[in-house]
Amino acid sequence: MTHAEASAAPPILEVRDIGKTYGSILALQGVAASVGVGEVLCVLGDNGAGKSTFIKILSGAHAHTQGKLLAYGVERTFGSPREALDLGIATVYQDLAVVPLMPVWRNFFLGSELTRGFGPFRQLDVKGMRRITKEELAKMGIDLRDVDQPIGTLSGGERQSVAIARAVYFGAKVVILDEPTSALGVKQAGVVLKYIAQARDRGLGVVFITHNPHHAYPVGDRFLLLKRGTSLGNFKKSEITIEEMTKLMAGGAELDALAHELARA
């Protein structure tokens, strides 16, 4: 897979030496990364590595306190998620922001419903929303028989994909996925990875946050490794193997020590 042609333009989203302090606590410092059109940036790190802080900066939930954040080559500081959203940076959180008992199409348009008619007679464009939902999901390769089924009846992977499709339809150029595979089984995680690849092939930038190298490696183009709030490096796929990545993440020496300790016990 080559995405070399895309890298000529400035990346959709780029951070340089970025950092964030909460009072006296250094949550993140000196991190550099970028994601371009049709690229998947995987952000890997163990618990407490600074992944959440990193997402919060990108999605506009928290403003960064060090370094630079560039969107389409222009320096920005996001004051709210709405500002990031207006630039096409959408975040799909772990809880997916769906209402399980509501039909798929109602969830798809929740908060941004299509309406027709005027004044007190303004009502939902049910047909239009059903049709668009079906089409948009088809583009993601999800074939739902019935967009009227409650979204709670879909599998975890499918729900994740609906959330991604929703972000894309509402103008996302970059989708930030917060641990989309962590709660899923092997098969469902595979489904989500497939949709990430699909989104990438449609020309979206994807920021894929995970702590599982086995999920990241097959779909990632670049890998940002975080540990204790700092960057362990930003690698292209050709520069790193999955074994090296696992070892770096866990902290190679610490893992060796652990193996030693366990062997003795």
Partner: protein, 346 residues
């Protein structure tokens, strides 16, 4: 999850589609029960199917139905209002006292009572939303406050516990056209409250299923954090729902006041649970996010038919409560079964 050949799975789901679509409607259980009860009393009593009989149970159902529909909207939005019953008395008493005791214009009195009701509804919503306390507790407090105030203030002002002489108030007959009149239809003496009931059920159903507000009501009741994340104005929706319930309380208060020309200080007390039962029998989930206005109206119809049917059958009236409890339990079980059939995991 079992794995079968894709083509076979597809066909199977398509065949089950119709039944599941039907089962997914929350009001199906109530419709079946209403039909059964209608049939039962029609066959077992003489008076049930006569024009006078039908008019009686429809009237009875309409007063509960208006409240049940409003309470159903609120329950779908994830909240309760235990002060809904007392509100019926409060609004009736306000109009009764200010017109008979102080000579206030009757139209103005209507507006004042409505404004006070809406303000109490808004206050309920405000406390619930700002504190995050369960609405069950907050409105239970409102219920007791209203109940106490209704009795105490009525006693202070009138010296008794009921309002007399409403019929002599100037303009009473003009207002009665809207709230207390009746007209002839197929030999039945149809009370105007039945028209209100049907119109409000239709309006509520349209709002729920075909407007943005309706979408938001389901959303805030189903998953409040998700609703916030996608930009649903949660506070506004809940505020609107509590005010709607209070407004419905006002309407029923007026319907009763102008029908019988008198109001007791205890009016409406003890009925709040009946509204909730009607809504639940009509398919509303106690946990919110699911239900129907038509279902709640059917729940009220079941209650109205049973209430009068027991009288027509000359049974001991106390059986009504036992029946109500049984109905509620059955409804909850049916809801559970239906949701499992529809495959909803929540």
């Amino acid at each position: 999850m079992t794995i079968t050949a894709p083509a076979v799975t597809d066909e199977r789901i398509k065949q089950a589609g119709l039944i599941i679509t039907l089962l997914r409607r929350p009001e199906v259980g109530a419709a079946v029960a209403a039909l059964a009860i209608f049939t039962f009393f029609s066959v077992s009593t003489q008076a049930f199917l006569t024009p006078a009989g039908v008019a009686t149970w429809l009237y009875s159902a309409s007063l509960f139905g208006i409240m049940a529909v409003a309470v159903a909207l609120l329950m779908i939005g994830g909240e309760f209002d235990l002060s809904a019953g007392a509100m019926v008395g409060t609004t009736g008493l306000i109009v009764g006292i200010v017109t008979t005791e102080w000579g206030v214009n009757i139209w103005l009195a209507l507006v004042v009572a409505l404004a006070i009701a809406l303000a109490i509804g808004a206050a309920n919503a405000f406390v619930v939303m700002k504190t995050g306390l369960p609405s069950f507790i907050v409105t239970l407090a409102t219920f007791f406050i209203l109940q106490g105030v209704n009795l105490a203030v009525t006693k202070i002002i009138t010296g008794t516990v009921s309002i007399q002489g409403m019929g002599a108030v100037p303009g009473f007959d003009a207002v009665k056209v809207f709230f207390g009149s009746s007209f002839n239809l197929f030999g039945m003496d149809v009370k105007v409250s039945i028209v209100w009931w049907i119109a409000l059920t239709a309006l509520a159903t349209w709002i729920l299923l075909r407007t943005r507000s309706g979408n938001w009501i389901f959303a805030v009741g189903g998953q409040i954090t998700s609703s916030r994340q996608v930009g649903v104005p949660v506070m506004k929706v809940k505020m609107g729902l509590f005010m709607t319930t209070a407004g419905a309380g006002w309407l029923v208060g007026m319907l009763q006041l102008f029908d019988v020309s008198t109001v007791q200080a205890t009016t409406g007390i003890g009925q709040e649970f009946i509204y909730i039962i009607c809504a639940v029998v009509g398919g509303c989930l106690l946990t919110g996010g699911y239900g129907s206005a038509i279902g709640a109206a059917l729940g009220a119809l079941i209650y109205g038919m049973t209430l009068q049917g027991i009288v027509f059958a000359q049974w001991d009236n106390n059986w009504l409560k036992a029946f109500l409890g049984g109905m509620l339990l059955l409804a909850v079980l049916v809801n559970l079964y239906v949701r499992r059939q529809a495959g909803v995991r929540s």
